[in-house]
Amino acid sequence: MSDQHHRNSPIVEFLGADAGAGGPFALLGLGHEIVSDDQVIKACRRRLNQIERHPQRSTPNADEVRLALHTATSQLLNHDLREQLAKRWPPGVPVSLPKAWVPKQRSRQLKPTLISKARKLVGASGGWNSTARKRLAHFARINRVTALELVSALNVGSPSNSTENDQSPVRLQKSHIVPSFELIENAPSKISSWLPAYTILFLMSAALISTVLYVPQIQAPQDEIVKNRSAISDVPNTVSNFFSDPTVSRDEFGHYTALAHELDQIAAKAQTQPVESVERFKVIFPLFVERWILFPEPALSRSSLNISGFTRYVAQSDFDEDELVAIFAKTPMDTSSPQQIMIRAAILDVLLSEYRLPAQLRTKLSDARSACVPGLAHPSADVHTALGLIAGLQGVESTTDNSEWWDDWLEGVNAFTTEDKLIRTKLVLSVLSSRIRKADPLDSEWKETADLLASSLSWKSGSSESFWLVSQLTDESVNTPRLSALTESIATNSQAPMITIQMVLNPTATMPQRQQLANQFKDAWDQGKSESETPTQLSTLITELHYTVSLTSPNVVSNDIVDSYIKLARLNTAMWQYEQGRTSEVAELLATFEQRIPARDDPAVYSMDMHNRDTQWAESAINAETPAELRSMFAQLRTDNGGGVNSAHALVYLATVHANADMRIAARSQILRYRDRPSILIAVDYAATNNRVSSRLAQLVSDMLGIQLPNRTDDSWYPSAHQALLTRLSNALSLTMESDLNRIEYETRTIYLSRLIEQSYVGDPLPSAIDSARNLFRQSMREFVFANSNELQTRIIELEAMTLVRVERSKSPIQIFLAYQRSICAMKALHIEQRLPGRSLQVQDLLAQLETRLDQSNTVLNQIIQVEHCIAKLWLLSHQGGNS
């Protein structure tokens, strides 16, 4: 592990193995003999240039190495500290020399022709200047001699010291080689051209160092935990002990890099020096638990892996397991601090994911983990994943409204979610969901906490929190006073300007008032979104679906049932059409989905009571002597909308029994005219039940019903006729109800028909809602006809079977529709699972939620809404993260 660790160390990666030898000298590539501060600064600059040339110069690791360089620079600039450091750390290999300038051990032979050419190069460059130096360096490289040798040869071969015809090779003495920086820096002729550049660089680095050194600190006087994350602010005070005696006091580690470095070292030495490593770990680990929030996410990950590696190596030695476990379990810590509990439990989860731990140690660590945070451990090699789970559990299971506790918790959450704000949002929202459902009274403590948590989210238009708030307003399980305090916090603290103080929920608000406020929020956010950007059609559709889903509670109040269902169904249809590329229809639906459907027709009025007018008409009609006399009485029938039951009995009697054919025809015409009236249906049914089935009666029944019946002499004639007449009678009587169902059914016909790919019904009477739902279900099944997975085929067969059962069990048309609708939803879920396998668990969760909502529903109409609600959530899931 330690070798690998060193190999993977960012310092080694960016600066080379020599820089990773340890200590500031190696880091800067300086020997112990430093003649001036300039030397240190220049060495730092050279190292920085090395990083700049590296392909990963923009990564966080590069930033960390830069930070380390500045730290080392500031240390070496302190003369006293430098002496102490020189005793402890090895010298570094100077890296100031470009490779071409590094002196070689052996001398080489320089031919006079080469020297002559070099001289001509200098002349062609206009003398000894930067151009000449560059050209000489290149010339030396291509001729495989060192530049120093060549320059020395040029000096040796000067007119005062040599002859031009001297052909003997020149041998250089090593002692003649001077450090390159002197050669470069002290070039007398053109130093003035380099000076401004170096001056500017020096001033910039001095400004940077002084800025970093003297950043003001904001710290409570008694607070031992360093909250300021600046690079070198505490270095002059603490770093003097950084590399010294291991028994350094806790206050000395002012910066996370110090702790991270310590953990690096502990992990590196754990295999060879377990006892010393454990002793050191006992000091460092509590500090880590206190200050982990200062660690950037990459550093935190690395540190957790170091701790895991350390534990594994120590466990492999014969070290006492109890003593090791005690470090994680029993080291004193602030048990009231949720962030400390968070990291401790997360580290234990990381340890438990290490499969190479001995079984006994694993058990003890597991016990320690359970003692830390109740419940099962969730071993995870990634400390951030572990932190997320633990923070979530802490948040949801907490029973306190104490704002200091939540402040501490939130600080911990912020620390590990700097890269992924979505997780932070989810955690805070899950906490808020839990807190606003408590039955605790509303008090100032909750108000402070609500302020704290609300201000950690933006509440902007289209954000997850905006959808969440709308759903909470319509959820009956939410405590109204506590929700009221939250809305007040949002109105006060949110970054969304469209949310005003008028949108604070009254603590005594009723559900309709909460629903109204939810719509107000939605409208405000809609307005905010349209002002800020031009959304695409899909994003608009998704947003509207989000809000509409949020506004649909598990038991929709009866006033809103029709509107809720129609809106959801229309938006779902728009999604289906979007998938089919029918964008113009989508646009139309988006513009009209909130339109209310036409008001219901007035219910039919059929009187079943006995009244004289009806009885008198019946007696007059039945005693009429001529067809003309009978026909003259039909006007009253029209006035009475077909007449009463007695009148109907009279008509049926005349049509089937009267001797005069004209009388029979006249009566029959009225029966067929009013064939759908309950009175006529009752009378015909009575005649069929109590009389012999004559041909006239059989023909009359057949013509009334418009269906083919068995032969009248057949025993099955009566049951068939009776069933059909009863059905018609029930249908007719149902029209006397003040019911919204028929207009819902009519609207559903259009909605479900629009979801079909092949719509062959344009211009024809629309098929019923049940027909369209059945066709849509079959269409969904056809998408899997070529599926070659046995498991998939089995699931489809199961779904088909359940659909048949549900249809068979149905006792009314709406129940048949619900049966097909549920199957459509299940097929949609199957489709998403196949297309997006990673969403399978979420799909199953949604289906489980649907089952719960169906069980909680108090009417079949509410069940239909919940199925549309689930379909909408499946659409949202399939488009999550921009996937289509």
Partner: protein, 304 residues
């Protein structure tokens, strides 16, 4: 002599009485022994082995001679189905449901058990198609008579209605149907009895009569009927009677597909939600408790 005769007669009577008492108690003892031996098959039930419940339940159901024995067999099978389901063997649980359906006298409950079997094991669809409505269809004659009874009551033919209503098969079927539809069967029965309480009413189910003297046809306005024949006493009663009658005469639910949705609300004003059949729901119907899985001393107990 007379005294001797008297003593002899008294002795003979006494002996006869004693013998008849002895015989009846012996018969009772035999019945009890037979009962005990019937239930002995339940002694080997083991919740960890749900198959034991299937074997015992089917065997008991096959040899049951009383309704009580059939009911106990059903109870054993329900418990077995629960345990099989809990242990992940849905196919076995489905088999138990089918076994109960075979024993169950109520045709509607038999259908529900078949539906539950498919929910647990959808691979049995063919068997479901064949057997689900078998018991229902076996009752077709009773169903026709029950429907005729309701129609007769509605059309004022009280004599016919009363005759039919007094047949136990018709009476039971009407109650079963009312329960299956979620109606109050007691209230409905009471209403029917009130409708049939006038066997001597004037119309006796007739709408018109011909006046003998002048041949004029008159409408019979009968004081016993507040509304025209066929319309029942009020809208609520009419609706309930139509609901039951429709359920008794309907053989294919697909006839609802062309009906207006308002029919749903007409037949059920509360629009009761749809519930899929479930094993837990059947626990209360069969009055068993999974925490009492053993049969001992003629009852279900928690410990063997």
């Amino acid at each position: 002599m007379n005294r001797f005769l008297k003593i002899s007669v008294i002795s003979i009577v006494f002996a006869l009485c004693y013998n008849s008492l002895a015989m009846s108690s012996s018969q009772a003892q035999t019945d009890t022994n037979a009962d005990k031996s019937t239930y002995v098959i339940l002694n080997k039930l083991n919740p960890l082995n749900p198959v034991s419940y299937l074997i015992a339940g089917e065997a008991l159901g096959a040899r049951a001679q009383t309704e009580q024995q059939e009911f106990v067999a059903s109870q054993a099978l329900i418990l077995g189905a629960i345990f099989a389901y809990q242990q992940g063997d849905q196919s076995l649980a489905a088999s138990m449901c089918i076994a109960i359906a075979a024993i169950e006298p109520d045709a509607y409950r038999s259908q529900e058990l078949w539906d539950l079997a498919i929910e647990l094991d959808p691979q049995r669809l063919n068997a479901w198609r064949e057997f689900r409505d078998k018991k229902f269809n076996e009752d077709s004659k009773s169903r026709q008579l029950a429907a005729k009874c309701i129609a007769a009551a509605r059309f004022g033919d009280t004599k016919l209605a009363a005759e039919l209503f007094n047949q136990s098969s018709v009476h039971d079927l009407i109650i079963q149907t009312a329960n299956a539809l979620g109606l109050n069967s007691s209230a409905l029965t009471q209403t029917l009895r009130e409708m049939l309480e006038h066997p001597d009413d004037e119309c006796r189910g007739r709408v018109f009569v011909v006046e003998r003297s002048d041949g004029e046809i008159q409408r019979v306005v009968c004081q016993d009927h507040r509304r025209p024949l066929g319309a029942a006493d009020n809208d609520r009663v009419l609706r309930e009677l139509l609901q039951i009658e429709l359920e008794l005469v309907t053989t294919d639910p697909r006839h609802f597909e062309s009906a207006p949705w308002s029919l749903s609300e007409y037949l059920d004003a509360t629009l009761q939600p749809v519930r899929d059949p479930s094993l837990n729901g059947l626990l209360s119907v069969y009055r068993v408790d999974e925490t009492m899985p053993y049969w001992k001393h003629d009852k279900w107990v928690s410990k063997r």
